[in-house]
Amino acid sequence: MNVSNLLTNYEEAIAMILFGIGFSNLLLQKNLIKKIIGLNIMDTAMYLFLALKGYIAGRKAPIVTNGVQSVEAYINPIPSGLVLTGIVVSVSVTALMLSLTIRLYRRYHTLDLDEISVRLKKEGL
């Protein structure tokens, strides 16, 4: 384990740092919108990581346009497929979170989750 490995794979390192930023935002922010932004940073970091796993230097996206059918000419398409699936999942989850946020905001006129908990205790439902 040495630093030069980290430097040659700097893209993966950046993806992991982004994942950490997104994860800690999702966990620690009080504001619901900031939490959702954290979620999106986390998911995007994952797509970066997956895209890197499929990339092979000097090759093209696997779309046959000029009649070249050799496997050697193209990158691995599976991670790209996974990224697409991941984007679909992430969009639907974000939509659900945003709709929940709207509901909570209409009821309590705040985006602070802790504040909402305090008010719920006062309501004593």
């Binding site: 994860f23 796993k53 989850v93 979170m97 929940l100 946020t101 909570l104 909402i116």
Partner: protein
């Protein structure tokens, strides 16, 4: 290929299509469609279970006729088929038991949306049980989360909205970690099908290559699924979500949703890494520690709780702790004990939720502990059912909880350095369970004077007044006694199923 082998795929597709179909039907029709779908899938799963048990061999169903490393696969063994049958049974009983509450608490225009969620939940649970592909598992984990969130928030008040938000946040963190683990594993092995990954992991392990990334990937997936199934320090969303949502949702969430994730974790341990590698990796020791912490802390929180629904919810935290402690023992016996506890807890916890609602029905709809005094006399069947559930959770012989505690203790005896800790934790946790469950049982069988009954508006309810709920309670009691009295064939079935996993 036998016709029965199509059934797992058919049951997933059937529930998947029943979901959108319910959205265009009216509330009543959607309800009957949902009951029919669950029953048909249950019957098909029984056929699959019989088929697999007779042939004594797991079968693989290739989707779209693409061969192994490229195509998607469904894989069915005894354990998978048993879980499908069992989940259908519990879901059917939960839906029956909560039918009155649903019609009361959910707006009329939104009745059918509830069944969309339940059908999608069933679809995702079946897919989690059957799939042989890690990325498909991830996608269905997310579908499971979204539909579970819908089940919580369908009863609209501030509590459920907040609970649903907290649930989503914790779940999304869990699925983020799970996806990261899967990506690492894909980067290392180049496969997504569990059987192919296992071959490659065995090669890597034998060559001593990439030990740290493998360990990290295993750790990320275990942590992710542990967060999603509410293992001890990640349980903050659980009491609100179970305590304030409508009855069927609470029962289904506690008995099925968390169990689906745990079953996926068992599959990852046995079918992706191989249990030998998991045991050597020491990840199990972490699960063991948190499992024991959950067993104790969950019960202590339950003792302090003043609301019966939240008390049962905190008890779930303790029971999830038991399951992870069984994994933590790192032996096959421990895992079998955990799987038995998954079944036992699903049967008992849904019984407790339905029985508790029967008790609150006759106590002026109050979930406060003091108001339940004497409720066991006012609704006799619910009182008996709650007592059965409590005895089972405490671990009295004859009931299902006893068998799982016995299996945990036996598995603990085999393990040399964890024996003492397991037995002490079991003993303490049993006493704590007894404290809060027996306290409740004594409370519901304490007679109240007639003038207080009039003053507080208590009513008396006969078993035939709410027939679906009474039928569900009787079925749950029978299920508990069956699990407690004739456990041997079921354990043998699990043993054979676990052997098929390898």
């Amino acid at each position: 290929m036998a016709f029965v082998q199509n059934f797992p795929f058919m049951s997933i597709i059937l529930s998947l299509f029943a979901g959108p179909l319910s959205s265009v039907l009216g509330g009543k029709k959607a309800k009957w469609l949902n009951l029919a779908v669950i029953s048909i899938i249950g019957a098909m799963s029984v056929a699959v279970l019989v088929f697999v048990a007779v042939t004594d061999e797991a079968f693989v169903y290739t989707m779209g006729h693409f061969p192994a490393p490229w195509g998607n696969e469904i894989r069915v063994g005894i354990l998978e088929a048993f879980m499908a049958v069992f989940f259908c049974l519990i879901m059917l009983l939960c839906m029956l038991g909560g039918v009155f509450e649903r019609e009361e608490e959910i707006e009329d225009t939104k009745q059918n949306l509830y069944y969309v969620m339940v059908n999608m939940l069933l679809c995702s649970l079946l897919a989690l049980i059957y799939t042989n592909d890690l990325f498909t598992a991830y996608v269905f984990v997310e579908i499971n989360t979204i539909s579970a969130c819908g089940l919580i928030m369908i009863k609209q008040n501030g509590r459920t909205l907040e609970a649903a938000t907290r649930y989503m946040i914790m779940s999304l963190m869990g699925s983020g970690l799970l996806l990261l683990g899967i990506c690492f594993l894909y980067g290392l092995t180049g496969h997504l099908l569990m059987s192919n990954i296992k071959e490659q992991v065995a090669l890597l392990h034998a060559g001593g290559e990439y030990t740290v990334p493998l360990l990290i990937s295993l750790g990320l997936m275990s942590t992710g699924l542990a967060i999603k199934s509410a293992l001890f320090p990640f349980h903050s969303w659980l009491p609100d979500a179970y305590g304030y949502s409508t009855l069927s949702s609470a029962a289904i969430l506690s008995s099925l949703v968390s169990k689906g994730y745990i079953f996926l974790l068992v599959k990852i341990f046995f079918r992706v890494f191989g249990f030998g590698i998991v045991r050597d990796s020491k990840v199990v020791n972490v699960l063991f520690v948190f499992g024991i912490a959950g067993m104790i802390m969950g019960s202590i929180s339950a003792i302090w709780e003043n609301n019966i629904r939240r008390m049962i919810a905190y008890s779930s935290v303790a029971q999830i702790g038991y399951i992870y402690m069984g994994f933590g023992l790192g032996t096959t016996a421990g895992v079998i004990a955990s799987i038995y506890h998954i079944v036992c807890h699903a049967a008992t916890k849904s019984l407790l939720f339905v029985a508790a609602s029967g008790l609150t029905d006759v106590s002026g709809d109050s979930t406060k502990f003091l108001d339940l005094t004497g409720a066991g006399y006012r609704n006799k069947l619910a009182g008996v059912a709650f007592t059965v559930g409590s005895l089972s959770m405490v671990g009295i012989p004859m009931f299902s909880g006893f068998i799982s505690k016995l299996l945990f203790a036996q598995a603990g005896m085999e393990s040399r350095n964890k024996m003492l800790l397991t037995l002490i934790a079991l003993a303490i946790s049993t006493i704590l369970n007894a404290v809060y469950f027996m306290k409740t049982v004594i409370r519901i069988y304490t007679p109240v004077p007639a003038e207080i009954t009039r003053e507080k508006g208590y009513i008396t309810m006969k078993a035939r007044e709410r027939l679906p709920k009474s039928a569900a309670l009787i079925c749950f009691i029978i299920l508990n006694l069956v699990l407690g009295l004739s456990s041997e064939p079921i354990i043998t079935l699990f043993r054979r199923g676990l052997a098929m996993f390898a």
